[in-house]
Structures are given as C-alpha cells and as structure tokens.
C-alpha cells in the first residue's frame, strides 16, 4: 500500500506574468522514486524546486494552491507556517552539477549537522561515516577525509553531495538531473544508489534521460508547458501512455 509523502492540490506558480505551473495535482508516494520528465521549460524543475521552497528566492514568484509534506504529525503545508530551514532539513536537494563546498570532505558532510547545532566531534564523526557509507563513497574517501572535496572526480563529488544531503537526515531527496554531467559508470553508481536510498527516503528526480526514468523510477510525471499531462506507474507510462502528448514526447515525435 502506498503512503503519500507529498500531496499537491491545485497548485499554480507564476513568475511575474508568466504562468509556469498550471493547476498541478499530484500525490508523490513515500519510499519510491518519482521521475519528472518533459522538454526544457516545461516546469518540471520549477516544480521540483517548489517542494523545498527554492523558488522563494526568485523575484516575482507567486505560488497558490496546496503543497503538503507528510511527517509524524500528518500533513503540513509547505507554504504554511513551516520554517524554511526546517523544511530544507526535511527535504534535501542534489543538483545537476556536483557542487561540493571548497573545504575538506569531512567538513562538507559535517556542514549541515553543524548548522543544525551538532558540535560534538564523536557525534559528527558518526554522522559523516554513516552519510558517506549510505552514499556508497566511504570506501573511496575514508583515508582522505581531511583532503579537499574538490580533488574528487565528478562522480565522486556527486555522491559526496548526496552524502551531504543525507547527513541532516532528510525525509525527501530532490535530485535535479543528478547524472547529466557524469560518465556512464558514475551514472550507473548513482542510479544504484538511488534505488538503495529509496528504502529510507522518498526521491523525486528530474531527468532528461528517459531510459534512466524507465530504469529506476516507480512513478513518472510528464510535464508540458506548465501542465502535468500524465502521471502514473513508470512501466505503464512508457509502454502504454494514456495521453497522446505523452506518447509523442517519449517516442521523440516532438520536444
């Protein structure tokens, strides 16, 4: 039985006069990977960012409708009186380009927990080790935790960024094209990792790689011109899409 983690009803997003997301209704289930696909400018990344209020920083951005995150006390409004820092602790994000901070591997991971007030060295050591292990990079970096994170390869940097997101023990991980800058081997490691991580987290991933969506996601949402055209089980959507627009897009007839 699926439990909804993110519940969205009649959500609209405007950038000034531009209506970027139109009446979005979607339930994203817990402990699954939900892929967001669609041509550039369709609104999928905007939607992803709205889940942890990254759009708040964009001038002229206005959101109405309902976006809710389910926690221990049931559903809470993301755009209600929830503290943004608390929201971002619960909903982490990994970007397209790996963006490690220019500091040591250890400090990259400890950064979040320290911000949230954890100072105890033993505690931090344990958090760093756990996060790096969860992100499947511990074995590669355990002997050089004090070296700069910038010396890692692209694929390692991306796994480090995933570890950094995990260190604050989020509930949801948003991934914005997390493998588009990586080689096939690193890509496959991140994909394996995502499948591993969904056991404990809910993952929402924007991808331009439709094969990737078919490989790892449970649900797929297809966006076009700010509308959510189709949303459903990945296998169903890619073998027998319900909407002609979906069929045309995934088979490469437009987009």
């Amino acid at each position: 039985m699926e439990t909804t983690k993110i519940h969205v009803t009649n959500m609209n997003l405007h950038y000034g006069d531009f209506h970027a997301l139109k009446n979005i209704n979607i339930d994203i289930p817990e402990n699954q990977i939900c892929a967001m696909i669609g041509p550039s400018g369709c609104g999928k990344s905007t939607f992803l960012k709205s889940i942890n209020r990254m759009n708040d920083l964009v001038e002229g951005c206005k959101i109405d409708g309902q976006m809710q995150l389910r926690g221990e006390n049931g559903f809470e409004d993301i755009y209600g009186d929830m503290d943004v820092n608390h929201l971002r602790k619960r909903v982490g994000m990994v970007f397209q380009q790996p963006n490690p901070f220019p500091m040591s591997i250890y400090d990259n991971i400890a950064y979040g927990p320290r911000t949230h007030g954890i100072k105890n060295r033993h505690k931090l050591d344990a958090i760093v080790e756990k996060a790096l292990k969860q992100a499947a990079i511990w074995e590669e970096v355990k002997d050089r935790l004090n070296k700069s994170a910038l010396g890692l390869s692209g694929g390692q940097q991306q796994r480090l960024c995933i570890a950094r997101a995990l260190a604050v023990e989020p509930e949801v991980i948003l991934m914005d094209e997390p493998t588009s800058a990586l080689d096939p081997i690193s890509t496959s490691r991140i994909e394996d990792l995502a499948i591993e991580l969904k056991k404990e987290y809910t993952i929402v991933m924007v991808t331009h790689n439709m094969q990737q969506a078919t490989r790892i996601s449970d649900k797929t949402a297809f966006f076009l011109l700010g509308e959510l055209i189709e949303y459903g089980d990945t296998e169903q959507l890619f073998s027998m899409p319900k909407q002609k627009k979906t069929e045309d897009y995934i088979t490469g007839r437009f987009g």
Binding site: T214, F238, S239, P241, I250, T251
Partner: protein, 216 residues
C-alpha cells in the same frame, strides 16, 4: 524529428508484409502439391521454407538493431517486440508447409484412401486466418485480429472431423492405417497453422492495445 527511425519502422513493416505473403504462398503451394500429388511443387514448398527462414533472420536483425539504436518506448516498443514474436509464429507456419510437402512426396506413388475435401477446407480457413492476421497488423485493425482468433474454432472443428473420419477408416480397414496416420499429420499441421495465425493476431492486439490475451 525522427525521420530515420520512422524509415526503419516502415522497412520493418514492409519486411513483415513480405514474410506474410511468403508463408501465405507456401501454404497454398503445399496444399496444391498435396491435392494434385505433385512432387515438383512439393519440393518448391520445401525450398521456399529456407527463404522464409532467411526472411525471419532479416527481420530479427532489424528488430535488434532498432532496440539497440532507438531504445524504443510506447507503441514503437510494442510494435518491435510484437514483430519479434510474430516472426517466430510465421517461421513455424513455413515449417509446417514444408512438413506437409514431405508427406506429399512420401505418398506420391499411392492413391489417396479418401477425398481430401476437409483438409482442403482446413487449408482454405487457415489461409483466411493468416491473411486476416497480416491485414490486421498492417491496418492496426483490432476487429480483424479478433475475427481471426474466433475463426480458429472452425479449423479446430474441421480437425476433429478429419480425425474421426480417419479413425473410422482405420477401423474398417487396417491396411489403410499408415496413410491415414500421414493424413492425420497433415491435418494436425493445418490445425497448428491456425494456432500460429491466432498467436500472430494476439501479438497484433498487443501492439495496438498494450495487452496480451495471455496476460489476462
């Protein structure tokens, strides 16, 4: 946007139609040779089977190339995977036409113990099924595919009829047993051809609807 892919799919379509007409002709030839006890024509049908096998390879290669290069999804994926399954059934039909022709050659120097009317009738029905299944594929016609599947009952009934007649003949005259067994084989091959045409139609339905009968 995807000219090359569309051209490749249209080639796949053409090759499948070609294979369909090859097997249609091979059944026709095999039955004609059987009825007329024409050994030369029977040999033609056997040779034609090799052509059909080659055609199967060509289509198989094309499908694998399309899977590799285009990583198809949705109806493209259904079309290509259906094609891969359909050609196996089509190839089997070719085998059965060849099997019938081998019996034709074996029986060529003895008069038939009975008129082949029901076997001919079976041939006619299976040809209708086969042509129907190929047409259903070309026209993406669900109704036609379903008609083919229904018609298989007619072929099955005819098989039962032939079987009963032959058993009766063996009862009456055991000397006729050997030829009766051969003719029963011919009828069984025809019945199997009907089954393969049914399978083809089921894959046609899958390529249109995404649902295969066997999944229900």
């Amino acid at each position: 946007m995807r000219n090359r892919f569309d051209r490749q799919l249209s080639t796949l379509n053409d090759e499948l139609i070609e294979m369909g007409s090859m097997i249609e002709k091979s059944i026709e030839t095999a039955i004609k040779a059987l009825v007329n006890q024409d050994v030369d024509l029977a040999r033609h049908a056997i040779e034609a089977d090799e052509e059909i096998d080659r055609q199967e390879r060509i289509i198989e290669d094309l499908c694998l190339k399309l899977l590799l290069q285009q990583q198809p999804v949705a109806k493209d994926l259904r079309l290509i995977s259906s094609a891969l399954k359909m050609i196996t059934d089509m190839e089997r039909i070719g085998d059965h036409a060849s099997d019938i022709s081998e019996i034709t050659i074996a029986l060529a120097d003895q008069p038939y113990i009975k008129k082949l009317e029901h076997i001919q009738q079976m041939a006619k029905e299976t040809m209708i099924m086969l042509v129907g299944s190929i047409e259903a594929f070309v026209d993406k016609d669900l109704e036609k595919a379903n008609e083919v599947i229904k018609r298989d009952d007619v072929v099955d009934d005819l098989f039962d009829k032939v079987k009963k007649e032959l058993i009766q003949m063996i009862h009456e005259n055991a000397d006729k047993g050997e030829q009766a067994a051969d003719l029963l084989m011919v009828a069984k091959y025809m019945e199997r051809i009907g089954d393969h045409a049914t399978n083809i139609s089921e894959w046609v339905i899958f390529s249109i609807t995404g649902e295969h009968k066997s999944m229900n």
